[in-house]
């Protein structure tokens, strides 16, 4: 659970001069950095072009439209009120679910990390519940609340809670005694210890927790929208799918994918900026 998705980016530079570097002719050398930097985008473009060509040649089943058709559907959909409302609905469910889960996870994580007895008392139930995916509770929620956005928001909270809670807990319970003792020796007051010792030590864990929580919420919210037709992008995907409007279906899947990338890469970028000072991020930047 504590595994962090690895950041996107360049291959780490070979350590020191001692690393073997393939010899290359001087003429090729000049063109290489440009080619290297462009390579990921060239291949991605290549994949899309290949898709387009295969679709044009008629080798794909009718359920898979060409990239240009999907792009056109996206352009056409984007300004419509229906799309904007669906997007807003999904974003709202995700945002509220994430906020609720993050706050709850933080509070509980700090409490469990700071009070060992509390952790002792509840760790069995927690270890059970954390492995029950939020969508398992969906039938009950539908029964209690009906197919409303409250269901997706609530289950999104549950999805966000666990990574947040456990990351915070690892962070707080991992603050090493030396650090805490030295803060005490220097006569820092309780609130100073919180500001100077606890928060900085826990911050990277919290950041990872938020990132994991965001992608969990997205998965849960989209699932609930699809299954229960709760207003949002997920429901629209399901509608387009059952009405055989395939280009629009893929266009919306792409939109959800972009949200996923933003939740991952976007949050990681913010995290790196905010936590620049932190040693593990400094090492990464080296």
């Amino acid at each position: 659970m504590s595994t962090q998705p690895t950041p996107t980016g360049l291959a780490p530079a070979p350590a020191g001069f001692d690393a073997p570097t393939p010899a290359a002719a001087p003429a090729r050398r000049a063109s290489r950095p440009w080619l290297l930097r462009g390579l990921p985008w060239l291949t991605t473009l290549g994949i899309l072009v290949l898709w387009e060509l295969i679709a044009r040649a008629g080798w794909l089943p009718p359920e898979v439209p060409s990239i240009s058709a999907i792009g056109a559907a996206l352009v056409e959909l984007a300004p419509t009120a229906g799309f904007v409302h669906a997007l807003m609905a999904t974003l709202e469910q995700v945002a509220v679910g994430l906020a609720g889960g993050v706050v709850a996870g933080l509070v509980l994580g700090v409490a469990l990390g700071a009070v060992p007895l509390l952790y002792r008392l509840v760790h069995y139930p927690l270890d059970f519940l954390r492995f029950v995916p939020a969508v398992v509770f969906l039938p009950l929620m539908l029964l209690l609340l009906g197919a409303t956005p409250r269901v997706s928001t609530l289950l999104g909270m549950v999805g966000a809670l666990w990574p947040m809670l456990f990351q915070t807990f690892y962070g707080v319970s991992g603050i090493n005694d030396v650090l805490r003792d030295s803060a005490r020796v220097f006569g820092l007051r309780a609130h100073q210890r919180l500001g100077h010792v606890v928060l900085p030590a826990v911050a990277p864990f919290v950041a990872t927790g938020v990132r994991l929580a965001a992608s969990h919420v997205l998965v849960v919210v989209v699932a609930v929208e699809i299954i229960a037709s709760v207003r949002g992008i997920g429901a629209d995907i399901a509608v387009y799918a059952s009405n055989a409007v395939y280009p629009s279906m893929y266009a919306l899947v792409f939109v959800v994918g972009v949200l996923g990338v933003l939740a991952n890469v976007g949050l990681l970028a913010i995290e790196r900026r905010v936590l620049r000072w932190h040693i593990s991020y400094r090492e990464e930047a080296r």
Binding site: P14, F17, D18, A19, P20, T21, A23, R29
Partner: protein
Amino acid sequence: MLTVEHLRKSYRSAGSELEVLRDISFTVNAGEFVTIVGPSGAGKTTLLRCLSGLLPSSGGKVVLTETGKVIQSPPPEVACVFQDYSRSLMPWSKVGRNVAIPLKNKIRDRAARRAAVRKALEEVGLDGFDDSYPWQLSGGMQQRVAIARAIAYRPEFLIMDEPFASVDAQTRADLEDLVLRVRHDAGLTIVLVTHDIDEAVYLGDRVIVMSGRPTTVLRTLDVDLPRPRSQVTTKALPRFTELRTEVLTLISGAKTGAAR
């Protein structure tokens, strides 16, 4: 016999070129123990990686004289012992397997392989440890495993890259004597790189003193100390002190020379 002829190596990094080895030539005779010393930062590890065929050179060549074979990739006649035993042994495999895996292509028969492993572990004083994991052993014992792995491979040449740099002084002395004994028993030819001048003089038949980067051979010294050597008596000989001082002077000179 191993001949190094005008070996050069440079690295490119971020557009600039870094010359590490500049024209290195020497020979290693069959059965000889050659030690290489140089100031820190000299391309000693680079040199050994070129010798063992792990790294392509930028010019010159390394030749196995008997067969006339030019070393371009790791040859079957050479085995290596690396500096950091904790990184060169496989922590997920037991000691016996660590020694056995390199033999897979050399000794096909399973029973024969097991016998070879047992013999090699015996030779380094680790009999009975084949069922332990490397991390259950002390640093000195782990490096013995690495040595056992090398001799089980039955090479003609043993190449050692600062093999005792990360163990304590007493263990280091023990391992030095172990290498001398193993070399005597197996008739190995050894090239050993070290930054420890005492060690270079104590172990070697010949000491090659290197300059700082870009590295050249400063001088080759014959070590005319009697064998078998002993930590107590050999190191107490006036001749030992003389040789040591000579190497030290060369290296200090190399350092100031490099700084200029």
